[in-house]
């Protein structure tokens, strides 16, 4: 007889449910395993476009970054003639910044000072606004940083519990992160018909709905939008800043996809830059935390696990606690920290690695832009599918108007219809897409597709999707067994 049975398990853990995304991932794993054991399926392999993982999709890494990291991992390579000089110089500099000149040493929990400094310089160059290393904290991915920032904020119980405004739709991992931090989620609806723009009225509505349930203390926003593909213009950013200032909310600006804007006449402007270009009082009082990571568009090094947050206008005493909280969290691998440095401080014109670097990043962005265009062309042709034009980010988020059949089936199985749609799409066509998350109104269904994949892969995905979708709409899709 086992000692620890289910009833002894921590109720909080017992209450955790696998998210629909995890459930679909698990299913995809099983299918992959079956295929590897020789099972016959209508497809040769599963294509996963549910989340941003460019390397998985066979998009190239940035050579300069990988070369420098390789030399840092195995410094004997410094004697190898085939590495460009700038790679060697950078590797040497980075190794000097590591204790014991090794990527195997522990670092301070907020990250290597050298890298924090590089990040500060990058932000200053990007925004023309001063940035200081001591306000920059490195973490094992942007999600951990968000979790820590929110955890530091969280307090209260019952209806005085801290609330955080989050967009609907929002990044699918955000729920886990905020759940862990122990806050109440206060969704504000983005306006789909306007390309998922932020609407001030909806922000106010959300606050009102929160009254009596919790105490909202922060607002999270992602720009470029994940998964919406919306890119805010200056006016929109100013509105959000003013709202945050008026309602005394901490601004959490997730800017991980800042290097992925492809929409015409649109560019990425950071929340920090806009804030500092507004009136003085706002610039000195609005509390802002901006997030970025190496899982970004052109770098895509999700497996290396590193990101950072920049904290603005925060009480120095509170900043002190950021470092301490980071002590207790997952440490950022040194190789990831070095990759951060390489991301914010890439080869410059004149450097031996510059041309290749530019070619590679240009190719990634061009692929992204080309893919976005293809999606617009093809996906809107499918009956019952409407996809807003996207300006940036790495996802598209089309709306599905589904037939009653699948909606009823979903109800019977206790699933949302878009989750069931994704399940069937996976089982029949081997395409793993993301379902629109449960933060939205229950009668609207969406699909989340990552378009940061090689062009051919997207063509294949769209073909399989179209085939499946048309069968579904024709009523010829096999019902899922209960």
């Amino acid at each position: 007889m086992k000692m620890t049975s289910l009833q002894h398990v921590n109720p909080t853990v017992r209450g955790m449910r696998d998210s629909p995304q995890t459930m679909l991932q698990n299913l995809a794993e099983r299918i992959r395993k079956d295929i590897s054991l020789g099972a016959q399926k209508p497809f040769k392999k599963v294509i996963d476009v549910s989340s941003g993982d460019p390397h998985r999709a066979d998009l190239q890494h940035v050579s300069f970054l990988r070369q420098v990291l390789a030399v840092c991992v195995y410094p004997q390579l410094l004697e190898d003639k085939c590495y460009p000089l700038d790679v060697k110089i950078r590797a040497q500099k980075l190794l000097e910044a590591c204790d014991g000149a090794s990527v195997g040493s522990y670092t301070a929990s907020s990250g290597l000072r050298h890298v924090r400094q590089s990040i500060a310089e990058f932000i200053q160059r990007r925004d023309g606004v001063p940035s200081y290393a001591q306000n920059i904290f490195i973490s094992a991915g942007s999600q951990r940083a968000i979790m820590i920032a929110v955890k530091l904020l969280a307090s209260g119980e019952g209806n005085t519990r801290t609330g955080v405004l989050i967009p609907a739709p929002c990044p699918h991992m955000l729920y886990n992160v905020l759940e862990e931090a122990g806050v109440v989620l206060v969704p504000y609806q983005l306006t789909e018909e306007k390309g998922w723009a932020v609407d001030l009225d909806k922000l106010h509505q959300a606050l009102k709905a929160a009254q009596g349930n919790c105490e909202p203390r922060a607002i999270y926003i992602s720009n470029p939008g994940n998964p919406t593909g919306h890119v805010q213009d200056r006016k929109s950013i100013e509105e959000v800043i003013q709202f945050a200032a008026a309602e005394r909310l901490l601004l959490l600006a997730d800017e991980v996809y800042q290097d992925s804007v492809y929409g015409k006449d649109r560019e990425f402007i950071s929340y920090k830059k806009v804030l500092f270009e507004m009136d003085r009082e706002l610039a000195e009082t609005v509390q802002l935390i901006s997030f970025h990571s190496i899982s970004s568009t052109c770098i895509g090094e999700c497996g290396l696990r590193a990101g950072y947050m920049e904290v603005v206008n925060m009480d120095p005493e509170v900043i002190y606690y950021f470092d301490n909280t980071l002590c207790g969290d997952i440490s950022t691998p040194v190789t990831g920290q070095l990759a951060l440095d390489l991301m914010v401080n890439p080869p410059q014109p004149g450097d031996p690695s510059y041309d290749t670097y530019i070619q590679e990043t240009f190719f990634t962005l061009a692929t992204l832009s080309h893919n976005a265009q293809l999606v617009q062309e093809l996906i809107n042709k499918l009956p019952g599918v409407k996809c807003q034009p996207t300006l940036g980010g790495i996802y598209v988020f089309p709306r599905l108007h589904l037939p009653c059949g699948i909606k009823e089936q979903a109800k019977l199985l206790g699933l949302k219809a878009d989750v069931l749609y994704c399940q069937k799409l996976l089982e029949e066509e081997g395409v793993l897409a993301g379902a629109g998350e449960h933060g939205e109104m229950t009668d609207s269904f969406h699909l989340r597709l990552c378009i940061l994949v090689p062009h051919d892969t997207l063509v294949e995905v769209l073909a399989r999707l179209a085939s499946f979708h048309c069968r579904l709409m024709d009523g010829t899709v096999t019902p899922t067994e209960v």
Binding site: R17, G303, L304, I330
Partner: protein, 467 residues
């Protein structure tokens, strides 16, 4: 929410960093650099990483190296294999949540070989970014923050503080059991019994955390001792958390690392089928010393399948462990074999590290015991020494005046005047009225000699000043 203990631990580290900065800027001090032996960080102290590990990792990071004639054939082949297991053939992709399946399998094979053929099942193994994270996750399953009385976890005294922090952060209570300093920090079952008794009416103990080989106390449990602990856990229905990070660091003559898993299995029924055990290991210690890569694993034994499902959900909430770290785990559990081109160098490096550690352990024991007011038992295993300080009342008084713990006072002075950064005993727990310091013994021999020289010189002055 603010954990005061965390803040105190940081003060000495911050000062050490400040001094390091000052030295870099050319400020004159009685020493040229700080000898940092505060953490178990081999590379920081100057030990070298294993060549084959770094060669393979480099080739995984930059695949064109697979075609380089400068790397041995087995390195190139292995790198190719590892990349083949990564999604998209890149270390930049996310992996499955429990870890890259082939690596998880490889770990299970390692455990089986290590434990004399006792089966290990991949489904019971989870890779995580460092062992502390998996310890925290398992604790999370066992601890109910809202419970009254509060959940308790038995921990050794002394104990490294990260686990203590995890326990308190989860809302549980630590139930200390004192290791016997006179017996070389041995774990005595009577003491476990006493600790459990003391918890009556205070908390509800559900788990027993053991560290073998110890940290900071350098003992290695005998098989008999491991059996006793298992029997105790079975009798009292406690979940066993076995931190076995230092299993490769055993130096004592007649000492041998025996895993909790193996012992449990060999004890047979009723123990082997009921005692719930979580064993932890990582790439941070041992010969690899790759703390910066962040990867470890936990193997779970005898857990209720329904509970395993929840553990899986919990681990699914995190992102995967860094891929490079996972590969390092694979290299640790499946190193070069005789006949492989990399084997001679690998063997040489491992033997060198071992020789340095064995030498250091002897020297440290010699020097410390030769100093007045300083003593330590022979160090049988692990990477630390935890010598005892017999501080004079005058020194203790001075510490009180400064608002410091007596051993913190000693360590602060040792840092400022001797340039050696060590950890004060109170951070790890010790019997009331006793004082200790902890430092890592994994450093090149010349660094260790310098350390001992500085320590001796400082110690003599300190003892004289406060006599």
């Amino acid at each position: 929410m603010w954990n005061m203990k965390q803040l105190e631990y940081g003060a000495l580290a911050r000062r050490a960093n400040q001094i390091k900065d000052e030295l870099r800027q050319g400020v004159r001090r009685p020493y040229k650099e700080v000898i940092d032996v505060f953490q178990g960080d081999l590379h920081r102290a100057g030990m070298k990483p294993l060549t084959f590990v770094r060669q393979i990792l480099a080739a995984c990071v930059y695949p064109p190296l697979i075609n380089s004639n400068n790397l041995p054939l087995d390195v190139r082949q292995r790198a190719q294999e590892e990349l083949g297991r990564c999604v998209g053939g890149s270390v930049g992709s996310y992996s499955a949540v429990a870890g890259i399946p082939e690596i998880v399998h490889s770990i299970s094979e390692f455990i089986k070989r290590r434990d004399g053929g006792i089966p290990s099942h991949p489904e019971n193994i989870y890779i995580s970014p460092g062992s502390q994270w998996s310890i925290s996750n398992i604790l999370n399953v066992l601890v109910n923050r809202e419970a009254s009385p509060r959940t308790g976890v038995l921990i050794p005294v002394p104990c490294h503080h990260k686990t203590v922090l995890s326990i308190t952060q989860l809302g549980a209570v630590t139930v200390p059991y004192y290791l016997s300093e006179e017996q070389g920090w041995a774990l005595q079952v009577e003491e476990l019994q006493r600790a459990l008794e003391s918890a009556k009416g205070v908390c509800n103990p559900v788990a027993l955390y053991v560290i073998n080989p110890g940290n900071p106390a350098g003992y290695v449990q005998s098989q008999k001792s491991v059996q006793e602990v298992i029997r105790f856990a079975w009798e009292k229905r406690l979940f066993l958390l076995a931190d076995e990070l230092y299993q490769d660091c055993v130096y004592g003559e007649n000492c041998e690392f025996v895993s909790y898993k193996r012992t449990l299995s060999e004890m047979g029924p009723p123990f082997s089928g009921t005692v719930e055990l979580a064993s932890f290991h990582s790439v941070s210690k041992g010969f690899l010393g790759e703390c910066g890569l962040r990867a470890g694993y936990v193997e779970l034994v005898n857990l209720d399948p329904a509970v395993m499902k929840h553990i899986h959900t919990l681990f699914s909430k995190d992102s995967c462990a860094p891929v490079l770290g996972q590969i390092a785990l694979d290299l640790m559990t499946d190193p070069p074999k005789p006949g492989d081109p990399s084997y001679p160098l690998y063997k040489q490096e491992i033997e060198h590290i071992r020789a340095v550690l064995v030498h250091n352990v002897k020297r440290v024991h010699e020097v410390i015991n030769s100093l007045p007011g300083f003593s330590c038992p022979p160090i049988e295993g692990g990477l630390f020494v935890f010598p005892r300080l017999n501080l004079t009342p005058k020194a203790i008084q001075k510490a009180k005046e400064l608002g410091l713990q007596p051993d913190t006072f000693y360590c602060t002075r040792l840092l400022e005047e001797g340039g050696v950064f060590t950890g004060p005993g109170w951070e790890y727990g010790q019997k009331e009225g006793t004082y200790h310091i902890r430092f890592c013994i994994a450093a090149p021999q010349d660094v260790m000699e310098e350390l001992l020289r500085c320590l001796s010189s400082f110690h003599m002055t300190f003892m004289k000043d406060f006599s």
